[in-house]
Structures are given as structure tokens and as C-alpha cells.
């Protein structure tokens, strides 16, 4: 049994860009499961853009992390010890997804954990393509935007954990999938590995012309992850009756002055339906989404890449890098063996 638990705490609230100094890594005594609980050794931590919001005091859809408390987050790990009832379905050695946050050990009741089968899907995929990011793509694209065959779907942060799934789900629906990403490498990955029809580098000096060329029939669905001027450029190309699934605005999370959206009137002119959403509001859709995504992975129809930081001490650096777009694909932290 491990003797200590590594935690990453929120040490300071960021003003503007988050820095590594906002976090503090500590070692504390290993927790002990109470009656009815299990002890889990976390093997992988998911890093996601929403975590930036939890670091702030601003009103949001979820509670903020308190100063001095461990950062929140999803984890996948192995049950070390069980004091849960025999009928709980959990035994030492089982793999479980939990919300243990940025720490190497955790205790929880079985009802707060989801047992996963790692024989055909690697465990860390339950934090990505068969986890919250995959379900986000599924709900935001299929349920909220309802793309039809032949329509053009655009997704920003196209090489990311959510965006990569959005593009592949759009292709499976018979749509034209167009990505937007930062840099040639990410765009090449989206097109060559993930099967996007096109991917436009938003850093290119002629970005808007490239976007127009990649969307010759305009845009029917915008799966919006980024906001800012990239979103404004998308809005300019929306078709009548387009749908916008507003999933994230990552370009704004570290901004001290919010960007002013100048093409808002396109939402009126084109009678656009825009839906802001958070995947945790759609818990009723998770079972179907996870079943579909798991099947697609097993059938080899969903691909992904991972950027892996080694050890919890590397998590702050990886998190800042992810917000700067330095990762490719799903950003994970492998927690020491």
C-alpha cells in the first residue's frame, strides 16, 4: 500500500494567464477508506480547458476550487482496497473512472465511480474519446446541432480531445468536416489521421481566405470551442438556419478584456440556433453516447492522439501548455507507476 498521496493544490487564483505558480505540489498521508468506501490508485489524470474556469472567482456553472484545495479533475485508476459491500461490484484490481482531482490516491463510495473494461480500450481513453470529451462531442454535435448528410460542419480546436471526435462523428454522418487548428502540424493530423476534409490554420495570414476556400458551400454547423476572432470569421460564413453548439470559448479563458463579437448580427440574418451547453447537464445521454463511442473505438472508426505529461508534478506545466495550444490531441498526466 502506498504511504503517501501526491496532490496538486490551487495555490493562487490567476489574473489573466494562468501560470505554474498558481499551483503547489504536496505530499500528504495516504487516505484510509471508511466502511463502504474503496481506495483507488489513480493512474491517469485528464487535463481539460474547463479547469481554468474553476480556478476563478467569477460566477460560473460550477463551484470554484477553494484556495489550498486539490484541483478538480477526472481520473482513471485501479482499486487497491475495498471496504465496499460485496454487492458493490468493485474489487481490488478493477479499473474505475472517478473525479478524484489532481492527486495520486483517493477514496470514494462505489456509486461515485464507473468501472471500465480495459481489455479492448486502453484505460486512459476513458478520459478522452470514450469519456467526457467524447460525450461532449456526441451530445453537442448529434443531439444539439443535428447535422444532416451533405452539410458542412466546422469545429475549432480540431485536433483537441473534443474537436477530433467532432470531426470524425461528422464524417460518419456524411457531412463535410472542416477543422480549425493552430499550426500546420495540427492541421495535417486532422486531415491525414482523423479524416477531416480540410483543416485551416488560424495563424495563417490569409486565414479568412483559406476558411472561405475550405467551406465553399458555407457553414451549416459550428461546433464552437474557441471564440474570439476565429468565431467571428466562422459567423461570417454561416448559412441560413445554421446551428451553433457553443461548447467552449478557450481563447477567452485567460483574457482580462473580453473580445467583442462583431458578427453577432449574422445569427439574426441567418436565423441561427445557438445552444450553449455543458455536458454534465445531459447525464441522460451519457449511456448511449459512451456505448456508441466505445463501439466505434473497438471497430477502429475513431482515432485519437495523446500528449502525456509524466507525473503529477508536471501537471501544472502541461495545463498551461494545453491552454496555449502546445499539446496535440488529448492532454493526459500519467501518474507515477
Amino acid at each position: 500500500m502506498p504511504r503517501s498521496n501526491t496532490q496538486v493544490l490551487l495555490a493562487a487564483r490567476p489574473t489573466g494567464w494562468v501560470t505554474e505558480e498558481c499551483f503547489r505540489v504536496v505530499e500528504i498521508d495516504a487516505p484510509t477508506p471508511n466502511d463502504g468506501e474503496v481506495l483507488v490508485e489513480n493512474r491517469w489524470l485528464s487535463l481539460d480547458p474547463y479547469m481554468r474556469g474553476r480556478m476563478s472567482d467569477a460566477k460560473s456553472y460550477a463551484a470554484k476550487v477553494e484556495l489550498g484545495a486539490p484541483m478538480v479533475g477526472s481520473t482513471v485508476g485501479v482499486v487497491l482496497e475495498s471496504r465496499a459491500p460485496a454487492g458493490s461490484g468493485l474489487a481490488p484490481g478493477d479499473w474505475v473512472v472517478g473525479a478524484f482531482g489532481w492527486q495520486s490516491l483517493g477514496v470514494a463510495k462505489p456509486g461515485a465511480l464507473r468501472k471500465v473494461d480495459v481489455t479492448r480500450v486502453p484505460p486512459q481513453a476513458y478520459l478522452g474519446v470514450v469519456g467526457m470529451p467524447g460525450v461532449t462531442a456526441f451530445v453537442g454535435l448529434y443531439d444539439l446541432a443535428e447535422p444532416k448528410e451533405g452539410e458542412t460542419v466546422i469545429v475549432s480546436a480540431a485536433s483537441g480531445a473534443v474537436g477530433g471526435v467532432v470531426g470524425q462523428l461528422a464524417k460518419l454522418r456524411g457531412c463535410r468536416a472542416v477543422g480549425i487548428a493552430g499550426g500546420r502540424e495540427k492541421c495535417d493530423y486532422a486531415v491525414r489521421e482523423l479524416g477531416f476534409d480540410a483543416c485551416v490554420d488560424h495563424r495563417a495570414p490569409d486565414f479568412e481566405a483559406q476558411l472561405a476556400a475550405a467551406t465553399p458551400s458555407g457553414i451549416d454547423v459550428d461546433f464552437e470551442n474557441v471564440g474570439g476572432p476565429v468565431m467571428d470569421a466562422i459567423f461570417r460564413r454561416l448559412n441560413p438556419f445554421a446551428r451553433v453548439s457553443l461548447c467552449g470559448l478557450v481563447s477567452q479563458y485567460n483574457a482580462t478584456t473580453p473580445y467583442g463579437v462583431t458578427n453577432f448580427h449574422q445569427l439574426l440574418v441567418n436565423r441561427v440556433q445557438l445552444q450553449g451547453f455543458i455536458v454534465s447537464d445531459h447525464l441522460d445521454r451519457w449511456p448511449e453516447a459512451l456505448a456508441t463511442l466505445g463501439r466505434l473505438v473497438v471497430e477502429g472508426k475513431l482515432k485519437w492522439r495523446e500528449s502525456i505529461a509524466e507525473g503529477l508534478a508536471a501537471a501544472p506545466r502541461a495545463f498551461v501548455g494545453m491552454l496555449r495550444g502546445e499539446n496535440l490531441g488529448k492532454q493526459l498526466v500519467r501518474i507515477g507507476a
Copy 2:
């Protein structure tokens, strides 16, 4: 039979603010109905903000008015002469709503006209509360935003032809109805005559504080007519799962530089559903809407006021004034007896 037809033509496309010089009033020979057509003497012309869009070259949801052509618009008038088949249901003396534009006479086939009963509803009301503006309020509020009893509904341009109906329909649904309008007179009218619970003057120096005081439980439905900084202030007070019916952005129609919407992120944080709409996309809903609105008028449950310009030559001045917010209630032109 009249010998001449007065028309108001689009003489020049505006850059920025529309002026009276953009129009030209002409007298031409009276039109003659062909076989199957009726000749109508228009008695009232409706002036509506959407007409500003038709004057521009910019891509929009409807065709622009060509230079030298009559301005488009809805009219109500009397059939003077009918060469329509006996079974058409139209005879001289009948009142009809048509889309004859800014002119005193017009010919049309009966299928393009809607016969109206002026015995219990005054004819010009078919251009307002029991016409396109009323249906706009009905569809945008009841169908798209689905307000529930006890929710707070806010509407900008609250004393206008659409906004006044929105507030009264919200009250009939058991909602708290809060208006926003320019100036004390309009706000008093909204509260005292139309029955809004509150109305905030957007010109007040402490507008945002007044808006907060008028919406102590936040905002569940925004029926948006105006855009600009007023909309940004509304967005700041949206509740989780709020709905925005995006009907108009009149503050922007004459702007040469679009306003940048800085509180766009509230649509994400609060998982807002926003729907841009144009009432002509919802023709299937007109019959029920018109029947409901007509019944409410007859029962005395819907009130309105009219601002009347006398004669088509006065229409350009009245139109510019309406866009500047100088009218109160429905802006009409009474076409010479």
C-alpha cells in the same frame, strides 16, 4: 377611380444613417387591373425597422429594394375594382391586407391578399397588433422562448409595435414582464397602459443598476429587438437555461462599425438557447397567432398606441424618426383619403 398613384421610391442607398434624401416621391398613372386581378386603394402603410435592411446592398434574408423601385411594405386598403373570378371572395369595398409597398394604389391577384374584418378591429390594427408585428411577438415569445409562469421576460423597444405585444403576452402567461425603452414617457406607457411590471430607460445614467433592480431574479427570456450595449447589459443578467429570441438589432441597422458583444460568454456559462428568427419563416403559425391576437383585441386584453404620419410624402421623415425612436407604439402612414 383615382387617376394617379403616389409612390415613394428608393432614390439612393444609405451609408450609415438613412436620411430623407434616400427617398423620392413620384406621381404616376394609376395601374389597371388585368383579368383575374383587383385594384386596391391603400389606406394605411406600415413602417417597420426591417425596411432599413432592404435599402442596403448587404447580404440579408430578403431581396434588397432596387434603386428607383418603390419601397416594400405592408398595407391595408379597400378593393376599388375587381376583375377577379366571382369565387375569389373579393368584391369592391372589401378591406384587404397586402404587400403593396409605399404607394397609394396597387393591383394584385386575390391569393396575394388577406381579407380582413374591420367591424370589431380597426383596419390599421392588421398592420400592428393583429398583423406582422403581433405575430412576431407571438412566435418569438410563445413558440421559440416558451416562457413559464413566474419567469422573468425582458423585451427591448418595449413601447414599439412588437415589444408592446411581447410584454402583454408575457403577462398573460403569468410571467414578470420587464421592458427597456428610450425615455420616461415610453417607460410610463409600458407600465401604466400596457401593464408591464417594470420598464427601464436605457438612457438613464444608472441604467445597469435600474435593470438589476427591475430583474431581482435575473432574466429567463430575452426578446431581443435592439442589440448593442443594451443587449450586453441583458446578457449579464441571464439565468441558467435562459432563452434569447433574437428578433432584431435595430441599434445596429444604421451603424457603420458593428458593436462588439462583450458578454457573449454568458451564453455559454448559462447554457443559453438563442434563436434568430424572421416571422416570415413561420407561415404555418400565422393562422393560430392571428386568431389568438384578434380574440385578445376583441376582449380588450391587448392594448396599443399608434404614431401616425399623414400622407405618403411624410413617410420618409416618419421612417427616419422611427429608427431614431421618436415614435411611440406602432408607426403608421395614413394614405390620403
